[in-house]
């Protein structure tokens, strides 16, 4: 074998090693997020207990009127039983996350991540291959359309094309113009998801939520049972609702927990510490 042939072989081997090192370096700048992540429901579990609990949601006036008009009897209507949750239920609901990836069989890069479903939330696919979001006139779905990029160790995603649904199950509505930006931070066995939800129709300002999950050695199910509708005796001539000022539950948070009506109905100013000054000192302590 001549010296040129040896050099060519060495160059090829070097190129292969370099490619491997480049790949490792790229991968090292990211985090593994696939697997099972158990819910640790130590926060934000109080939102669905009472019909009118919109505390912590910066609703605008339209959002508040719509939320207070909602009657849970609508869920007895077959056509509304599965209208439920857009993608942001992921950071609101009580379930863990099952995340897996699809990779390019030749290049090995991640094409997409999928976050498995629950019974009332569909799977969320996060496209990592650089594709653009579709036209604003494209189909909207409960999962929406999500793209993602890595910023260092943080997975950053953006979701559009969501069906109209709920910000909160008890009636705070989201529109089909809502979007969600998420950031996935992994610290050891803790995965914290920061979600920023915007809705020009029903929110006065971005709604910021976060939720932490813990790595689970026990595999979680990749998908809950699908939402199946059933006839519950309501024919759907009119959607059950409350007229303005007629919601009978509007003061339930006040009587039960000492929460002022402004806070229970999601006025944005109630999300900041200074609002505490408007609450009578010591009133809830009994």
């Amino acid at each position: 074998m001549g010296s040129n042939a040896v050099q060519r072989k060495m160059s090829r081997a070097t190129a292969a090693v370099l490619a491997a090192v480049f790949t490792c370096a790229t991968t090292a700048a990211q985090m593994e997020i696939t697997g099972s992540w158990a819910a640790r429901n130590h926060e934000f579990l109080t939102g669905d207990g009472l019909p009118v609990d919109f505390t912590g949601i910066p609703l605008n006036e339209e959002g508040r009127i719509r939320a207070l008009s909602y009657s849970e009897s609508q869920l007895a209507m077959e056509e509304r039983q599965c209208q439920g949750w857009p993608a942001f239920y992921m950071v609101e609901g009580p379930f863990g996350l099952k995340i897996w990836s699809e990779t390019d069989p030749l290049k090995g890069n991640v094409i997409s991540y999928t976050i498995g479903a629950w019974e009332d939330r569909t799977p969320i696919t996060i496209w990592m291959d650089g594709r653009a979001h579709p036209s604003q006139y494209a189909q909207h779905t409960r999962a929406g359309f999500t793209t993602g990029v890595w910023e260092g160790n943080t997975l950053v995603t953006y979701t559009t094309h969501l069906n109209a649904g709920f910000l909160k199950k008890t009636g705070a509505a989201s529109s089909d113009e809502a979007t969600m930006r998420m950031r996935f931070y992994r610290h050891g066995d803790i995965l914290t998801v920061l979600a920023i939800i915007e809705d020009p129709v029903y929110l006065a300002e971005p709604w910021i939520l976060s939720r932490s999950f813990q790595a689970s050695a026990t595999p979680l199910s990749p998908g809950g049972p699908p939402c199946v509708t059933t006839f519950e005796g309501t024919t759907g001539q009119t959607a059950p609702h409350y007229l303005p000022e007629k919601n009978p539950f509007v003061d339930e948070m006040t009587t039960k927990y000492g929460v002022p009506r402004d806070a229970a109905t999601g006025k944005p100013e109630t999300l900041y510490p200074e609002y505490r000054k408007t609450i009578a000192a010591g009133a809830p302590v009994k």
Partner: protein, 235 residues
Amino acid sequence: MRVFRISALVILLFVAAAGQDRAPAGAATTAKASAPVDLTGYWVAYVTEDWRFRMVTPRKGDYQAVPMTEQARKVADAWDPAADEASGNQCKAYGAAAIMRLAARFHITWQDDNTLRIDSDAGMQTRLLHFNSALAGERTWQGYSTAQWQRPGSLKAATTNLRSGYLRKNGVPYSENAAVTEYFDVAPLPGGGQVLLVTTIVDDPQYLQQPFIVSSQFKKEANGSKWDPTPCSAK
């Protein structure tokens, strides 16, 4: 052979660069100088979660979502805010295990090149996060915190040496042996502004059946014009 040498050099550089994910150990630079993210400034709690546990004092017995032990429940059921005030323990709900969950403003500054300082207006507390560890002194509400940067842009803080306190204002206890681990991350807000995300993990085998994990978000404010120092209150 020359190509091989150059390639080897490139590989070494990449391996060295990959190692940059961890903060340099024993480097001569200070924590302030090597900060991969700027946490300083005024931050206001944006209370979108657990509103009724944070903005009002929950009633005795309202402990939803805290994985309390039976012993913890007994302690919480005996909560007496008047007695706490009378005994000078009105700051029990303002300790390091709970303070970042309060409805409050926080001012983060560098006390010196290796100590990050966090002041709260609610309860007027001061936390010191030490990048160069020293001996912890007596137990305090804020305990003793060590800190380290986690590249590319996180801060990890570990706190022990606490006085026993409350995870929530209605007497949900943590013991003096509790250990608090926190991660601080900063994210941009659409349209401008920044969000500080603090993930708090409280380990306390005496009063918690499993680690208590919450994450809280804060908006950055331009200045301290809304800073409103108020003393601790047990009620």
